[in-house]
Amino acid sequence: MSNRDVLQRFYEAEARFMAAAEQPDFGPVAATLHPDCLLYEPESLPYGGEWRGRDGVERWMRLFKATWSSLEVRDSQVFGDGDTLFSRSHVYATSRQTNKQTDWLLLQQLTLQQGGILDLRPFHWDTAAILPALR
């Protein structure tokens, strides 16, 4: 399976997780992650910081799901064919707490190793612009 295939599986599993009922199974997402995976989020976001290992990414994803009641990713495009990939997309989300809608351009940098995602660093177009939707 190519790194692009792994990334596609990760996105599909993440979308199912986000769309599912209260406590979905993280297993399909975990299957696409390297055991030593590390996710970085900008500190200004409610789910900011570094999330280590599959457990860490699961905690992040449950917090992310608690923050956004709906999430839709459109216009995805993947760049690169080696161990480092970039994925560009447009995210449309609704805050669970305020019910406000927002959207932002997203560029994710991903490093893959041995068929799993090792590093995941999402660059959000304007982190300051995301926050008003959450207040």
């Binding site: 200004s44 560029l107 982190t127 612009a129």
Partner: protein, 260 residues
Amino acid sequence: MSNEQFVLLVTVPIKAGCEDEYLALVNAVNDEMRQEPTFVNTVLHRSAEDPGLFMLHETWRDREDFFSVQMKKPYRARYEARLPDLLRAPRELKIFEPLRADYVAPTVGSGAAVPDETSKPSPVAVLKRFYEAEGAYMNAGGAGGGASFAPLAATLDPEVVLHQSPDLPWGGDFQGHAGYENWARQMSEAFDRLEVKDRQLISEGDIVVAICRLVTRSRSSGAVVDAPMTQVVTVRGERIVEFRPFYWNVPDYRAAIVEG
């Protein structure tokens, strides 16, 4: 640079079953080396009788540069490390110097042996040329120091658009050469240090994604922000038409500049 053109003829006998791996490796090297300033052309050949025997015909402008600089390029490391396991006999390398050259006019599909001065540079080469011009512009003092913008403008389409996240102190869309220069002036006023580290480029079609670490120091507060940054650059022909940089955490720059 000695500017003495020379030709390398390299024969590479590959073990049966390893040909596809070799081709992947050599194509990856050729995709990079064709961007080098001392590179003229290369043709990769395969023997008509022996499908495992390959020959590279490479023309370079500078022999000293080739052996002291080009052979040590990081993009060759994977090729050189893997090659011994793929060879069924030693690789042979011979150096020739040109005495006479005769060409017919090249036609589409006729091969690439003739240096094609009219071929358009790759999007990565265009972006590298922009970064070189930008570095020279910054070293000359940038917008605030009265540096000439002309060499940088030559790499930018007249309709270029630079999108900056709206909540940055220098946020907004900057259009055309004048817009870009205006943005460069704002950056120069905001920072007395602006350093790009560990830059990597990945291209796909006319788009190049650049990733780096951006180190800035605010003139107003002295605050240093050292953070990853990436940008999506779109190239049309030999010029850049769009930049969309993604900063890691916009509030960090607001704190350093606005509230600093």
